[in-house]
Symmetry: C2
Subunit: 395 residues, 2 copies
Amino acid sequence: MKNLLSIKGIKLAACASGIKQANKQDLAIIELPPESHISAAFTQNTACAAPVEVARSHHSNTPSRLLVINSGNANAGTGKQGTDDTISYCKKASEVFSLKTEQVLPFSTGVIGELLPVERISDSFEQLKDNLHEDNWQNVAEAIMTTDTKPKGISKEITINGGESITITGIAKGAGMIQPNMATMLAFIATDIFINQDDLDKLLKTNINESFNCITVDGETSTNDACVLMSTSSSSHKFSVLNKQDKENFCCLLREVFIYLAKSIVRDGEGATKFITVEVQGAQSKEEAHTVAYSIANSPLVKTAFFAQDPNWGRILSAAGKTQYNMESLKIYVCDICVYDSLKPNTYNENDLKELMLKTDVIIRLDLGCGTNKVKIWTTDLSYDYIKINAEYRS
Amino acid sequence: MKNLLSIKGIKLAACASGIKQANKQDLAIIELPPESHISAAFTQNTACAAPVEVARSHHSNTPSRLLVINSGNANAGTGKQGTDDTISYCKKASEVFSLKTEQVLPFSTGVIGELLPVERISDSFEQLKDNLHEDNWQNVAEAIMTTDTKPKGISKEITINGGESITITGIAKGAGMIQPNMATMLAFIATDIFINQDDLDKLLKTNINESFNCITVDGETSTNDACVLMSTSSSSHKFSVLNKQDKENFCCLLREVFIYLAKSIVRDGEGATKFITVEVQGAQSKEEAHTVAYSIANSPLVKTAFFAQDPNWGRILSAAGKTQYNMESLKIYVCDICVYDSLKPNTYNENDLKELMLKTDVIIRLDLGCGTNKVKIWTTDLSYDYIKINAEYRS
């Protein structure tokens, strides 16, 4: 993880509340200054977790001021008790931080179907308040991990007219149960730019579609996915009056933060030994490109072939054809070598290709030859360790 | 595999033609008597194999008389050369067996993207003709295997009015790349009942939907799936004039043959240690039930949990909710123990449930509580051996 920059006015803290085993960081808070704007997207899984329902409701009512995030327990499938528990610790937090209950947004990640040790959470807020600091991004990135092997975070800075800079910092967690759907695993991205709610909402939507909605580890949409974009508006730079070039620069950096975090989740995918980019171009529609790309990115046969570093393009062809879109002009490239061209195998040196496949980062590219739409999806291979991690998750 | 009964008039043969390693059976033929009817369904994968295209075309033109089936090479992704090769050996077979080329139906299964050793196939027809026998079903079931660990076949007999009996015999292959879509892996089912083409086509369609279209190993739809139902009409019993009870009995047995073969494919699923039945009831539509059941049956997280014999129902809940259907009245049962009831965990003895999960055959049942539609889908767990088999497939 790169060095994380503070965002003026945003204070963070993390602690070991006792949800996970003793002394493991598992609870974090992010406090926003009063003038902040916040935009949030949540999972579309209809069996979504209690904190997702509560956060969605709180967020729609009142400007949010405090994010409470726990790992080790998803508080999903926990019914009315799960909702009551969530509201209970939000209420406690609001008392400690002198806010309204609706100004507190709860987020959880971890095992599904177990009740939260709600008192341990409530009892931790005083301690967390005492430890609030602007430079605690790294600690919070660590506290929200579950099967992640490393924390995920990034900062970007842009100087406007040689004057004061705008800063963007984002953190995320996620390694398994990854195929976000119009939302994402837990990700928290903040900037100090002065921006209105509408613009912030648009930026969140656009960037999610090009980052967290372009990744998959195992095709699973979590019950707890959430992505939050926050702005303190503490910078003197107003988004709405930035000149074209500055606005483009800012949007470009913000996009880089989203994509970096999304890719970090894939790179840390459960058991992953490869980072695979699936590019589909020449599609008649975005939807077609998406469907074909995800069919390949989620194919266990393609993923095991890449784990074996075997350029078995027949499985890519089969996964593409499974979508029932027209494959008559299809070209398939593996690591930029054309292996299949319009209904027949292409001649290539298999040893050269096997050599290229030894790299950690590999590219599968399909040209459907039917149109101008394209997408990029990022995924992992499927290894013994994915089975190991998920067979032993609760044991 | 049960003992397989002959169908009067249908002769079969198998040999080692040299497609696979030396001396492995890899080529089979099934010859039908002139008065036979044959109904066939093929994969809907748009990147379908050359033999699928040729068989589809031949089948629609002329009554089929000879099925040629090879394993070890799928002849898929092989373009015009693959089609030319297929027609070439169909022509050779038609000469040896004194038929029209269009009366020969080709079927292939095995690795994708390699050209067939077409001369080895053509050179084998004389030998195959010399070895034709009515009791060769077992040999053919073995010759069509790829990653299958055992041959799959079954016979059923029904006596009508205490007189002559009707016989049904079916064989199939398949272990990986299994989620047939309105078609199936290779399956060949024959009966001697006197039946017209329309009735035979209806029987094929109905039975496929309740058998091969209800299974998945890895969510992959093959380029080469095909299912063939044949009738020699050599029996004196006419399907169209059977009384209601006899017709029901015959249809019931035929259904049993389809389901037995479909289940055999799942039981032999690559790396499978469990046979999992996913039942979804209480759905508003068949489509809803299907979507929810397949979301669970293809979930790598559910499958690894069952491999670990861990009743981690949170993953079932998440896979159900991922479909975005209403889960507010959902009940989940694992091995008939209710683990989740309408938005909250149900109390149960986890040790009792773990004990039940040690069995090879386990049931996941969901009641969506929204309607009267239900489906059953059969699937496997996901084990280390699935990765091993598919990582080492071409090495």
